[in-house]
């Protein structure tokens, strides 16, 4: 520490050092070595995850650790700036209450238990498979009574090929590619039509 090499009291430093004793000569070694923790770090070009403005972000990281997230000054939309939410997105990624394990609530339970990721995936696949099997609607004659497309026994039935008993919600916070895969699997593969997100078009 610099303070070991020079007296602490400003007036003594002034006396001995012929400066006002409060400038760089009074810097501790730590102060002298201070520099931005992002200096020399790797950077990923990212985009703010909050609203639709789409501000450019720089995600600084080193050795697999996220160091800071700040505005990307080259973005023609945001020019390096961020709002309070965008400015908080480092905390969004690193705060201690983020989920890290799959949590499972059994029927009738009043608390969570933990579940291994692969086991959880197998269980979810089984649930989807069974629910779809139970509720798949082949033709318009199989539709429920309140459905306007339902056809009676003497009417020509049309193929339907859907299930409305497995549903999905969410997408406006996800990536395009993820929404693409969701729609492809859920609608194109499983025949799910009750698919919705925050957007209303």
């Amino acid at each position: 520490m610099a303070s070991e090499a020079s007296p602490r009291w400003p007036f003594l430093r002034q006396l001995l050092g012929r400066t006002d004793g409060t400038g760089s000569d009074a810097m501790s070694a730590r102060t002298r070595s201070l520099k931005a923790r992002t200096d020399g770090a790797a950077v990923a070009r990212s985009v703010c995850p909050y609203c639709g403005v789409g501000c450019g972000q720089l995600a600084y990281h080193r050795d697999g650790e996220l160091l800071a997230i700040e505005g990307d000054r080259e973005s023609p939309v945001s020019q390096g700036t961020l709002c309070p939410k965008g400015s908080a997105s480092y905390q969004l990624m690193t705060h201690p209450t983020r989920l890290q394990r799959v949590r499972y609530r059994a029927p009738g339970a009043s608390s969570w238990s933990d579940l291994d990721l692969e086991t959880a995936m197998d269980m979810v696949a089984d649930r989807v498979w069974e629910s779809r099997r139970r509720t798949f609607v082949e033709t318009t004659s199989d539709l429920p009574g309140h459905d306007p497309c339902r056809t009676g026994p003497n009417q020509a039935a049309e193929p339907v090929g859907h299930t409305t008993a497995v549903a999905h919600l969410g997408g406006a916070t996800l990536d395009n590619e993820e929404n693409y895969l969701i729609k492809k699997l859920f609608t194109g593969g499983l025949g799910m039509v009750a698919v919705s997100n925050q957007a209303r078009i």
């Binding site: 520490m1 303070s3 020079s6 602490r8 009291w9 400003p10 007036f11 430093r13 006002d20 004793g21 409060t22 400038g23 760089s24 009074a26 810097m27 501790s28 730590r30 102060t31 201070l34 520099k35 931005a36 923790r37 992002t38 200096d39 800071a68 997230i69 700040e70 505005g71 000054r73 080259e74 023609p76 945001s78 020019q79 390096g80 700036t81 961020l82 709002c83 309070p84 939410k85 965008g86 400015s87 908080a88 480092y90 905390q91």
Partner: protein, 289 residues
């Protein structure tokens, strides 16, 4: 304002002010502040300042309260029965023809980085120093938490952090993002500011820009626009200065800030004389003994 300058904006461009020993500052202009508090958050994120409680104040949208050990940027919210320049703010009364002026002002407050800094003068440990770009900087590793600086600040900016927060006991305030400036980055608050209400740059350039801005505003209906830089007080000017609409008092700023130690100069001298005399007496006494 430098909106639209992109990477050329002084709030974004890489610089070398610290190495050049160039005095830098903040010019904060509430007439373009949208009260978003990005500065508060960007400051806390970069400097890893802890949150200091979830208390709803009921004072407009301000729940940060005051500048302090864990609030280095603070956006003040003023709801006033005054007009904002030539703004037409819809009928403010249901009585026919009734016109009652109203405005909502936001201004981001920060450590003023005084020319004559009361905290620095009061600090007995050498923790508080003046950096090469003219900022007032607290060295955490040197500070012993004595609190002399707290009473020394004419603006009530610096404070000791209470337990159980990290670093409790130590005195904290805006660092002017010294670590960022050391590598040519701009301070986190100015960089984040979406409308460039906080402008960072060489102090002399900011002052020129501010003078033009005040003139423009006065021309365009903001007759109460003025600069607040404490230049004619014992603080001898601040490096973080403000454009204000109306009186500083409404913003909680002292109309005439004074450095408490301003009267201590002679006292130091007499103390020094006394000490030297005492030593001389002692030496003489030893010699004669």
């Amino acid at each position: 304002m430098s909106i639209g300058q992109g990477t050329e904006s002084p709030n974004q461009a890489a610089h070398d002010y610290l190495a050049e020993g160039r005095t830098v500052g903040f010019f904060t202009d509430p007439t373009v502040c949208i009260g978003c508090k990005a500065c508060e958050v960007a400051c806390k994120e970069w400097n890893m300042v802890p949150d200091d409680g979830y208390a709803w104040s009921g004072h407009s949208y301000d729940n940060s309260g005051d500048l302090g050990a864990s609030t280095w940027r603070h956006v003040k919210f003023l709801e006033q029965d005054l007009a904002a320049g030539n703004q037409v703010a819809g009928p403010m009364t249901v009585e026919p023809g009734g016109e009652e002026p109203f405005r909502w002002l936001f201004v981001s407050d920060v450590c003023k980085h005084c020319e004559e800094a009361g905290c620095l003068e009061a600090c007995p440990t050498g923790s508080i120093i003046r950096t090469d770009n003219g900022a007032v900087f607290v060295q955490d590793d040197v500070c012993n938490g004595c609190g002399a600086c707290v009473v020394g600040c004419p603006f009530g900016v610096i404070d000791r952090r209470p337990t159980p927060l990290p670093g409790a006991g130590g005195a904290f305030k805006c660092t002017f993002c010294y670590d960022r400036q050391a590598v040519g980055l701009t301070p986190a608050c100015a960089k984040a500011c979406p409308t460039e209400s906080i402008q960072f740059g060489p102090l002399d350039e900011l002052k020129e820009r501010a003078a033009v801005r005040v003139h423009e505003l006065r021309q365009s209906g903001f007759e109460d626009a003025r600069l607040y830089d404490a230049a004619d007080t014992s603080v001898r000017g601040v490096h973080a200065f403000f454009l204000l609409l109306g009186d500083p008092g409404a913003y909680g700023l002292p109309p005439r800030p004074e450095v408490p130690t301003v009267h201590l100069g002679p006292a130091w001298a007499s103390a020094l004389t006394t000490a030297v005399m005492a030593m001389l007496i002692a030496v003489v006494a030893f010699a004669l003994w």
